[in-house]
């Protein structure tokens, strides 16, 4: 089988993984080595595929042969599909040549479980070792640990990669039991805990010995599939929050379930991927990470799922009318961040600018505030924007109208407006 065909098969098999970032570690270039990872804080998108997702790493599987039979997965052993495997040398050469041409920022390596978790991890380690040691590749590597592999293999992988990830896959143990019987919650969480502890210990070692080898310097991330099981948004979001707090994850990715296989336990093949739901979860994830929100504030028992027509921040604002309006001249950073239409960047600009000027609405627009949303929640010099008309009854409709044109159409069309 030639390289072109292998690349096609192993990309196709890897593309449902959502994670694709090259952020979290700054490592400058070194004489005699290829590349660096210091491009910028946000990482670096090298292109965007036709589905609008950022491509920053060469995202492939080492092999799509797999001994497991997870029901939701294209690579499950009972699926009749073409199988292929890169040799470690082929993969290293491909990565280097793509990197030199500035196609990619590095490699994202995952794999089907070939023979056993340990054997698979050993193959991945061999490939990364060639890349790091023979080709002297100094760019970004994200590696996926295989659930059930021995702890010393996880350690070896972490010393070669910048970021490690263990996929949660399904947000509840019940889901795992029915759809991925060979994976257990414990087999997933144990390596996560190991990576967390490894990163912590490594920090202390580096403080003591400057040249101590780096263990997963860009931390770890995970992803879960949304829409394959009946879990609520509330469950997913509090799980996410727990992962950030207990396991110190850098990112949690959500992947709208794309039906790729027919199975009685799964949504049927003509189901559309729940893109809007995934979008809402990401919005909420941002609120947790950058806006100081808690999962419990966004969803509760009576409202276990996000409103498809309103983003989570607007939804929170509508549920807390007593918090508003916010006076931009005096409000603190935390308060400003709660206003729909104000983000971390514009909030900080407001803090800077108001030391010198008394702000009005034209100033806010120049500072990057999205007035279409913010106007209902802020006052300048004690006044709302002139000519603004709204009431608690009309506001949900007005806010939904702002966003509607940007949402995935298929899903919103099916919903009637506040029926």
């Amino acid at each position: 089988m030639d390289l072109m065909e292998k690349l096609e098969i192993l990309t196709d098999a890897a593309k449902y993984d959502a994670a694709c970032t090259s952020s979290g570690v700054k490592r400058s270039s070194r004489a005699g080595y290829i590349g660096n990872t210091s491009s910028s804080v946000m990482g670096c998108c090298h292109t965007f595929s036709a589905d609008g997702r950022c491509v920053t790493l060469l995202k492939v599987l080492l092999t799509n042969r797999c001994v497991y039979d997870c029901k939701y997965c294209v690579n499950r052993c009972s699926n009749d599909t073409r199988r292929a495997a890169f040799t470690p040398a082929e993969l290293a050469e491909l990565t280097i040549q793509f990197y030199r041409r500035n196609y990619i920022e590095g490699l994202f390596l995952s794999s089907g479980v070939c023979r056993s978790p340990d054997y698979t991890m050993e193959q991945m380690i061999a490939a990364l070792r060639i890349l790091r040691e023979e080709y002297r590749f100094n760019g970004y590597i994200h590696a996926k640990t295989i659930p059930g592999a021995a702890p010393e293999l996880v350690t070896a992988l972490g010393l070669l990669a910048d970021r490690l990830s263990v996929n949660i896959e399904l947000p509840s143990e019940q889901g795992l039991k029915t759809l991925a019987p060979s994976k257990t919650k414990d087999a997933i969480l144990r390596p996560m805990g190991q990576i967390r502890d490894g990163v912590r210990e490594n920090k202390q070692e580096i403080a003591k010995y400057r040249h101590a080898p780096r263990f997963a310097p860009a931390g770890q991330s995970t992803q879960m599939i949304v829409g394959a099981t009946a879990d609520t948004d509330r469950h997913i979001l509090s799980l996410t929050q727990g992962l950030y707090r207990r396991y110190g994850l850098k990112r949690v990715f959500f992947s709208a379930y794309v039906p790729v296989v027919e199975h009685s336990l799964l949504p049927s093949l003509d189901t559309k991927p729940p893109l809007l739901r995934e979008h809402r979860l990401y919005q909420a994830d941002w609120l947790l990470r950058f806006y100081g929100f808690q999962a419990e504030e966004l969803l509760d028992e009576t409202n276990p799922n996000f409103d498809p027509l309103l983003d989570p921040k607007c939804h929170w604002a509508l549920c807390h009318p007593a918090f508003f309006p916010v006076e931009v001249q005096r409000a603190g950073l935390e308060e400003l961040l709660r206003v729909p239409g104000i983000g971390p960047v514009s909030a900080r600009r407001i803090l800077t600018a108001r030391r010198e000027t008394v702000l009005d609405f034209t100033d806010l627009k120049k500072l990057g505030v999205v007035l279409k949303r913010a106007q209902y929640f802020v006052v300048c010099k004690g006044r709302y924007l002139e000519g603004l008309r709204f009431s608690p009854q009309t506001l949900p409709r007005q806010l939904a109208a702002v966003e509607r044109k940007d949402l995935p159409t298929a899903e919103t069309e099916q919903l009637s407006l506040f029926g």
Partner: protein, 252 residues
């Protein structure tokens, strides 16, 4: 009396115009460069570029605020149509009001400049990813057509990332090229540059990349509008994934 200032188009030349404005107490009506002298009703003053004068202006900016100097130097690289007047208004306000001006983000002397610089920096950030190199006998070459003069800001990034390589990055909009070899770099004016025909190995990697690019998209999620938001079409021309194999493999 308002005067049209004509200079050589360099940053030093522009600083000398600022110097001349203050020395002669003649506010500018407009700025013109030597290669684009438009007829004007205002009296025209030609300003010679003098490194010492330019340095004095630069020092005086740094003395007021390092951040302001950064903004001016970057502002000069932007594609804002009236960038010299915009910079002049900013510098004047800075001298009049002091460094507190920099916090007045919505001020008419600051906002247009910081907006133009944000546009420049945004384009730099995108191009760090979107630049594509091809290999010709061990030398890498790439071409971009940016709106802003991004090469000076892309330089540190690519020189670090490709430290062991020899490369050329050509800016077709502003007709200049960044050359790098063995730790040394130059940005030089370059009237034209044509990429040589790729060899078999280069073509093979281009094809592999296109195969990867086409395969990695998920059909059920196709979203051309979202792709265009993140990656405006004007960048596509110079990107490998959107190019056809025009060159034919050399015989034999």
């Amino acid at each position: 009396m308002d005067t049209a200032y004509r200079y050589d188009g360099s940053l030093e030349g522009f600083f000398c115009c600022i110097f001349a404005i203050y020395v002669n107490k003649e506010p500018p009506a407009c700025f013109q460069t030597a290669d684009d002298p438009q007829p004007t009703l205002f009296p025209v003053r030609w300003v010679d570029t003098d490194a010492a004068q330019a340095q004095r202006i630069l020092n005086s900016l740094v003395k007021r605020s390092v951040q302001a100097k950064e903004l001016v130097v970057k502002g000069f690289l932007t594609c804002a149509p009236d960038r010299e007047m915009m910079l002049y208004r900013f510098i004047r306000a800075l001298y009049d009001e002091g460094p507190g001006l920099l916090r007045r983000l919505s001020d008419d002397a600051v906002y247009p400049l910081s907006k133009a610089v944000r546009h420049l920096e945004g384009e730099v950030q995108l191009l760090r990813g979107f630049v594509r190199f091809s290999e010709f006998d061990g030398v890498l070459a790439g071409e971009i057509r940016p709106k802003n003069r991004v090469l000076p800001l892309l330089r540190p990034h690519f020189c670090a990332r490709m430290r062991e390589e020899t490369f050329l990055l050509y800016d077709r909009t502003h007709l200049e090229g960044l050359f790098y070899q063995a730790g040394q770099w130059r940005i030089l004016p370059m009237e034209d540059f044509q990429m040589a025909a790729p060899d078999g190995r280069e073509l093979q990697f281009r094809r592999l990349w296109r195969k990867f690019y086409d395969t990695v998209a998920i059909e059920a999620r196709l979203n051309p509008k979202l792709r265009m938001t993140h990656m405006p079409k004007r960048y596509w021309d110079t990107m490998t994934e959107f190019q056809e194999d025009t060159a034919v493999l050399p015989e034999g």
